[in-house]
Amino acid sequence: MVTTIKNNPLPDYIAMVVIFLMAVGTVFVFSAGANIGRELDLQRFYDFPGLRQILFFPLAVTVMYAVSCFNYRKFSLADGWLKSPAGFLLVLSLVLLIVVLFPQFGTEINRARRWLRISIGPVTISFQPSELAKWSIVFFLAAVCDKFGNSIRLYWKRFVPAFLVIALVAGLVITEDFGTAVFISLLGFLMLIISGAKLWHILTPLPFAAIAFCAALIRSPSRMQRIAAFLNPQKWADSAAYQANQSLIALGSGGLLGKGLGKGICKYGHLPEDTTDFIFAIIGEELGFVGTATVIGLFIVFVWLGILVVVRCRDRLGQLLAGGIVLTIAIQAALNIGVATVVLPTKGIPLPFVSAGGTSMLLCAAAVGVLLNIAKQTGIKNSAAENAENVQLKIEN
């Protein structure tokens, strides 16, 4: 039934761009993980983010390929709520989000309980449920909006329940991870907008969101400080704006061609979070503007290919899923680069495919896998797509 058209190069291009980004990421996580206090020890390679990333890279590619063979239309809710993985994914992430809040299971890192740690033999795998929750929201909303089609315009019957799902997930996340919660809500609303919800519907919960936002800001002095530091970086250069300042130094000292791969200095303790949130600054330091422009260029190509997938896709579920996936990844990348270049206040968002971090990388790879599957099927009119279109037409009629 599903046949790949040989002369459709779109999925190959997407895979190439993503794998290239992952390769860049692996190299730079390894480079930024350099530490003069510790030598690499292959016996305990899992303790080193640089070595860990070398393991995750092929794993992520494998996951991406495996998921790309899985027909994305299985996410459709058309056959009933219990037939689609999207719903299970959402339930699973809700359960994990609740579990992580209990001290017995959740692990605190940097004063936030965001990680689940599972020990397998000598290796401890850390897992961040909020990452999963983010993707489950995208998939779930895409599936729901596909199922209900244009009836999403109905305020009470369709919009409010969808909004409540977003609010529930965001509410669970917000206690420990403010930024991700905001990001999840933003994604949720974007999904609702692109699936055709009315604009004034979207505006109604905004006052509540604004109040929640302000309350969260006021309750946490560190967040206030970060905002203040962003507005006046010179004054806080040694405290709250330290990271931002160091990031600027790393980027700025790189120049046009950079200091050379592996020859950066900022990664030796000057720039914190160098393998995760600020890896972009390390790329800028070591490869200069050429490096940063290449990374940004790759993301632009990725978004452009995403647009092509969405435009070519004849199926509403495919469009929504592809749009959601590309949006999620691109917004994250833009936010991360914005933070690294100090256009935005400091916020811990990883750079997709590039930053160290297994959860983020594997889930992004899986999401791209879905995107690849959609891309493979573009231009094919099959019965399922026709059915979907028929349903749509009926509703419009």
């Binding site: 700025g252 800028g284 940063t292 632009i300 749009g323 949006l327």
Partner: protein
């Protein structure tokens, strides 16, 4: 297809955002590159200084007089230590010190950034202590002097930060110090070096200095001098042993002395090398020089008889001159004047010589000016220019009054006599040797550098060259003074206590009265007892001067040069000549 349009619009927005971010990167990385680069170098680099090893100072046979060793110092940084007690408790077992002792050091430190806990720590102590927060290890060079006070005044001493402060250490400080290595490293946030950025200067250790001093001879001289110095309860004493042919100083002792290893507890007054800094009226020691000048000028014949006025010579313009010990000499030959040390005879010789000739002669012998020995702080001595001479001067200077000299000047003058009238310049540094064992500088270039009067080169082949410089007095006059007159002093005159069986010694005694400090005239109880001698008379190998200042006259053991100084000279001569003979020189 509303959704597609929305998605496309959103994604195009994102592409625009990416392009703006790329623009931002361009701004930061290209346009503001210089600004951020300068900030980054400020915070990301660390300068380190490698301290050079200070050069060794060796005696002429390679025995170590001064050397620098690397020592580890364990220190604390009090300002970053919050709980001195717990740190001290941790540190105590490692250092084998009391915890309260360490705690006291830390809390009472005046410098908030640095307090020494232990100097010269063991490697394992350093490893263990370095792991404790707030405790650091620093390696330093420490100067040590294995021979202690033996040659302290010649070798000198250094400050805590290895700066030469005295003696050879000061004179050749630049050469000994070497130059530090300056490196700039990229540093991590804890200021640990990552890799080299720039090497602005290369570490170069100091050069080693080989002295003419022989530690064995130095030991002879010091031991003998110390014995006499103590038994006569003298104020101070100096001894110099020199090689007349070259001017090489074989030993130089100044008492009281100090231990360069423990400079803090030294009496500041004892730090100076009295052999070159202290001036005194030489008394009779000057007589052979003045006589040599007179004979050389042809105003007297060696065997000419001079009437010595029966011990009472007075005249208009020069007052009254008496003899030491109230001798009443009649006619004496020049030789007898020297042997019996007649003041009146010398005064008459002086009168015959004349002011100009005497002044020029003394100047040529090196009085009234530095000898140029390679030690700091040398005194000029005092020889008034002729126009300042009074009527007394021409009669007093020939027997060593109205002139101030240093011990080294006297040694030099006698070396000239012993060397057949050739100029001699005393020196201490034989050679400088680099770390690779290569000769950096020989005596000759050192002399050239010092470039002053009477330059001389060591070594046998260079003797001929030295003769080209000329003679201060005729060789035969010098030979007559040494082998006839001064031999007579030892064999039959005032210097009998310096006679040796094995070698013919020549010498001259000197007992100078010290001028009163409060009033005019000379003191009756304060003398400088000196004796200068050389042996063997035919071909002098060494010249030895011993000068003992203010021997305690109340002990009743005597105070003259012949009594106090001559026996010391004899012992030094005997031991030194035996030693040199056995050494094969």
């Amino acid at each position: 297809m509303k959704s597609v349009r929305f998605i496309t619009i959103f994604l195009l927005f994102l592409i625009a955002a990416f392009l703006l971010l790329a623009g931002r990167c361009f701004y930061l990385q290209f346009l503001r590159n210089d600004y951020y680069y300068s900030i980054s170098t400020k915070q990301q680099q660390k300068r380190t200084t490698q301290k050079p090893q200070r050069g060794v100072i060796l005696d002429c046979r390679g025995r170590v007089l001064a050397a620098s060793n690397k020592i580890q110092t364990i220190f604390a940084e009090p300002r970053i230590i919050k709980r001195p007690k717990s740190i001290s408790t941790k540190l105590a077992p490692i250092m084998d010190m009391g915890a309260h002792e360490i705690c006291k050091l830390i809390t009472e430190s005046k410098n908030p950034g640095f307090v020494k806990i232990k100097v010269g720590a063991e490697p394992n102590q350093c490893t263990a202590a370095g792991k404790i927060y707030g405790i650091g290890v620093q390696s330093d060079w420490q100067r040590y002097y294995p021979m202690g006070p033996l040659a302290a005044h010649v070798v000198g001493f250094t400050s805590v930060d290895n700066q030469g402060l005295g003696g050879i250490e000061l004179q050749y400080d630049k050469e000994l110090a070497g130059s530090a290595g300056q490196n700039t490293f990229f540093a991590d946030s804890l200021r640990r070096p990552i890799r080299l950025k720039q090497q602005s200067s290369v570490l170069s250790d100091g050069v080693g200095i080989i002295l003419t001093l022989d530690a064995t001879i130095q030991q002879f001289a010091r031991a003998e001098l110390l014995k006499q110095y103590e038994s006569y309860e003298a104020e101070s004493a100096v001894a110099i042993v020199a090689e007349p042919a070259t001017g090489a100083i074989l030993a130089m002792v100044s008492l009281p002395c100090f231990d360069p290893n423990d400079i803090r507890s030294a009496e500041p007054n004892n730090l100076r090398n009295r052999a070159i800094t202290d001036q005194f009226e030489p008394g009779s020691l000057l007589k052979p020089i003045a006589a040599a000048i007179a004979i050389d000028a042809g105003v007297v014949e060696p065997n000419e008889k001079i009437f010595c006025e029966y011990g009472n010579y007075r005249g208009k313009g020069f007052g009254r001159i008496g003899e030491y010990g109230d001798h009443r000499f009649g006619n004496l030959t020049v030789r007898q004047i020297l042997v019996r040390s007649s003041n009146i005879g010398m005064a008459k010789i002086g009168q015959r010589t004349g002011k100009e000739t005497l002044y020029r002669g003394l100047k040529l012998f090196g009085f009234g000016q530095k000898t140029g020995i390679d030690l700091p702080g040398e005194a000029d001595g005092l020889l008034w220019p002729v126009k300042k001479w009074t009527g007394y001067s021409i009669t007093r200077i020939p027997f060593g009054q109205e002139i101030s000299v240093t011990a080294i000047q006297l040694v030099r003058a006698f070396c000239v006599l012993a060397n057949g009238g050739r100029p001699v310049r005393p020196f201490l540094v034989k050679a400088m040797v680099g770390n690779d064992g290569q000769l950096v500088a020989r005596r000759s270039s050192l002399v050239a550098r010092a470039a002053s009067h009477g330059a001389r080169v060591t070594g046998h082949e260079s003797r001929n060259r030295a003769s080209a410089v000329g003679f201060i007095i005729k060789p035969e006059v010098a030979r007559w003074i040494v082998t006839d007159a001064l031999v007579g002093v030892v064999n039959e005159g005032t210097g009998r206590k310096a006679a040796l069986e094995k070698w013919q010694v020549f010498g001259k005694t000197g007992t100078a009265q010290l001028a009163k400090s409060e009033s005019r005239g000379y003191s009756d109880s304060d003398y400088v007892a000196s004796f200068i001698a050389g042996a063997p008379a035919r071909n002098p190998a060494v010249v030895v001067l011993v000068s003992i200042r203010k021997p305690n006259i109340k002990l009743g053991k005597g105070y003259t040069g012949g009594t106090v100084a001559a026996p010391v000279v004899a012992k030094i001569l005997e031991r030194t000549l035996n030693y040199l003979e056995n050494r094969g020189l």
